[in-house]
């Protein structure tokens, strides 16, 4: 299975994301922001970093990149898309996920190992986890406070579209301790913490993040 990993100017975590895809048993394919071409991939990871320097707003400029037009079209057809950190911000700006990510309530850049609870396993990216399991993966961001209108939050909670929730302390003031959400069809998932930094015990706090990249293998027809 081919999984695309997008690189924008200012992306930082594309190399780790590609490594995570490879460790999960899939073939990572580099996708370039300026090319309106998904190169035959069956899923896409929008990795973390500071695309376009976070100018204007995090993700606000990246959403207009030529590759994103293709990602939005493919996601509307059901292609699995994962947005991590800045990638989550890009997916919100692009309208694939609701809400917005704002400056951390504590105004500090937060970088630490974070416990999350997997709240929903019926998505393209969480099928390999047990419902309710707690995982530990790094969080590292400045603008991670998930914010949405009350009606949107009620809709997300009511439809079971909160995929990950912070446990043992909310790092950024996100409403409802929300760390990650999904689209109505469960194919598009965004989260602020970084599963690609927790794929083996040598370089991460755990290998708990690998399950996200393994999950997508089972989410598309062979």
């Amino acid at each position: 299975m081919k999984v695309g990993v997008i690189t924008f100017p200012g992306t930082l975590d594309d190399v780790d994301a590609a490594r995570a895809v490879r460790l999960a048993g899939a073939e990572p394919v580099a996708l370039w922001h300026g090319d309106a071409d998904l190169r035959g991939v069956e899923a896409v990871v929008v990795p973390g970093g500071f695309s376009y320097g976070d100018y204007l707003r995090a993700g606000a400029i990246a959403r207009f990149a030529p590759v994103m037009g293709e990602v939005v079209a493919a996601a509307r057809r059901g292609m699995p898309v994962l947005g991590i950190c800045n990638g989550f911000q890009v997916l919100c700006e692009a309208g694939l996920l609701p809400g917005a990510l704002l400056r951390n309530a504590g105004l500090h850049f937060v970088c630490r190992d974070q416990t999350l609870r997997v709240e929903r396993t019926s998505t393209a990216w969480t099928g390999s986890y047990e419902q309710g399991v707690e995982i530990v993966i790094p969080v590292k961001n400045m603008d991670g406070r998930f914010t949405a209108s009350k009606s949107t939050v009620d809709e997300l909670e009511g439809e079971g579209r909160v995929v990950f929730r912070y446990v043992g302390g909310n790092p950024n003031g996100s409403v409802g301790d929300i760390a990650g959400i999904c689209s109505t069809d469960g194919r598009v998932v965004g989260l602020m913490p970084h599963p690609e930094h927790a794929v083996d015990a040598l370089t991460g706090p755990s290998a708990d993040g690998l399950g996200i990249f393994r999950s997508v293998l089972g989410s598309v027809p062979a």
Partner: protein, 79 residues
């Protein structure tokens, strides 16, 4: 040519920790009497006569602001 100003502010119900930090700093710096601060963005655009109000609205709503969390005001300040 005209100058157009676009002011973008966090919606009233949105927590603005940056504005709060500024508000909290003022008494420490000896400035009394400021009860609240909200922080936003101010854009100045130099536009030619072909840019109509509808286009300015689209620029402000679709790019300069995020309507999920921000309000905007567009003003033509000189022509």
């Amino acid at each position: 040519m005209a100058r157009v100003v676009v002011d973008v502010m966090p919606k009233p119900e949105i927590l603005d920790p940056q504005g709060q930090a500024v508000a909290n700093a003022l008494p420490r710096l000896g400035f009394a009497g400021v009860s609240d601060v909200r922080q936003g963005k101010h854009f100045e655009l130099e536009v030619d006569d072909s840019v109509d109000d509808r286009t300015l609205e689209r620029i402000a709503e679709g790019f300069l602001s995020n309507p999920v969390v921000e309000d905007f005001v567009v003003r033509r300040v000189e022509s």
